[in-house]
Amino acid sequence: MTTDTTHKNRVLIGKAGLDGHDRGAKVIARALRDHGFEVIYTGIRRTPEEIAAAAIQEDVAAVGLSSLSGAHLRLFPAVVEALRQAGASDIPVLGGGVIPREDVPLLIEAGITEIFTPGTSVATIVKAFTEACATHRSGRTL
């Protein structure tokens, strides 16, 4: 083995909830890939518990969620809680989609690290994931 660490930013992009649109999630997944991320894509209609289990098995540094159905106030915090229950509260959750501005403080309060409202540029989103990964890595003991 060589002694230099050659880490890659690994993130999970998922879509909780019942609506079947994953265009937004796929756009973000591709943008992250094009910026050198390894993106674990879990597909649509995942439960918070499924997302948490996948995040742990894949050892991702961040979870990104997309919601278009209006269920973000319930679903995003549920993923934060599922990660906590699974002993992975260190993994940050970022979310985006059709989210009214007035919901942002509620979500931040519920433990979501970053919220992307409609119109947020892809560059901003990539930067937020890059920072979330760096913060997670620096806080990790193992």
Binding site: K8, E38, V39, A53, Q57, E58, D59, L142
Partner: protein
């Protein structure tokens, strides 16, 4: 990270903790300074007992869906499984979208099914090293069956076949894959040739074609991975082949050869930076025969001509 931290991580791996298993895999995959310590601290027994199945074939043939079905069969036997799903990294950005899990989500909440997606990261021998290390860590984490899925492109499939005790080549009708044009070696090396999408037109004739080119027609199976039809037969073929190979020494021979290949790959990886360094010290003039200079380079590193 201290060696005490590594010791406690390994303790948790042996206690089957999914988080510890996935951390250990990342540390080795990322060439962490303690990667060597992790690998040499693993127990040999679970590695000797495990069965490693390689699944390769063109994109869209149904490898991930079929893997999902095979997982169900092995879970019914009470085995813990590790899945390594390998996809190519983008040669431009180095990133990857890893989506094989989508087809295995029926097992997402089963604590005894560990799925790890892995990107090729432009490694050649290195992919084999990373996947080989992952297999061993998963075995130490209690996985008795390990399935490696890889897209059948380039060198990676041959690498994975090397790692596996048994290899399935999965094909499907309508992928425009001409059997005659398929890399000849692959048909011979695969232990079983699976015609998936048996529910689709063209699957019968694909199976017949394969039977005519396969060294042994009993190697051809048909499955419908959406419904699971044919999967019981496939898994019993796997079980009997495994028993056969354990009894006649094939399994041991393959593992010995695989380890030899792995050692060579790792040695080349270790050698490369030293070669890179030494080559500039050579101050070579333009030459009609660079091969001669390569010999001289090796000589400088103390490796005389054979």
């Amino acid at each position: 990270m201290t060696s005490a931290a590594i010791a406690s991580l390994l303790e948790r791996v042996h206690a089957r903790d999914p988080r510890a298993i996935s951390r250990a895999i990342s540390l080795v995959e990322d060439n962490h300074p303690q990667a060597d310590l992790i690998m040499s601290s693993l127990a040999k027994e679970p590695i000797e007992k495990m069965m490693v199945i390689g699944i390769t074939g063109p994109p869209g043939a149904g490898k991930s869906t079929l893997t999902g079905q095979l997982i169900s069969r092995f879970r019914a036997e009470g085995q813990r499984l590790g899945i390594i799903a390998i996809d190519p990294s983008s040669p431009i950005s180095g990133g990857a979208i890893l989506g094989d899990r989508v087809r295995m989500m029926q097992h997402a909440l089963d604590p005894d099914v560990l799925v790890r997606s892995m990107a090729t990261r432009g490694r050649l021998g290195g992919l084999c090293a990373a996947a080989g290390a992952t297999v061993r860590i998963m075995a130490n984490g209690g996985c008795s069956v390990i399935i490696i899925e890889t897209v059948g492109v380039g060198q990676s499939e041959m690498d994975i076949i090397r790692l596996a005790d048994l290899t399935l080549l999965v094909l499907a009708p309508g992928l425009g894959d001409d059997i005659q044009a398929m890399k000849a070696g692959l048909l011979e090396v695969a232990d079983l040739l699976v015609v998936n999408k048996a529910d689709c037109p063209g699957s019968e004739s694909l199976a017949l074609d394969l039977e005519s080119v396969a060294p042994d027609r009993s190697r051809v199976c048909q499955t419908d991975a959406l419904t699971g039809r044919g999967v019981v037969e496939l898994s019993s073929r796997l079980a009997s082949l495994d028993a056969e190979h354990r009894a006649d020494g094939t399994r041991t021979d393959r593992r010995v050869q695989a380890q030899e290949r792995e050692i060579v790959d790792l040695a080349i990886e270790l050698l490369r930076p030293r070669l890179d360094l030494a080559v500039s010290a050579l101050h070579s003039e333009p030459s009609t025969n660079p091969r001669h200079l390569a010999h001289e380079l090796l000589l400088r590193l103390g490796i005389p001509d054979a």
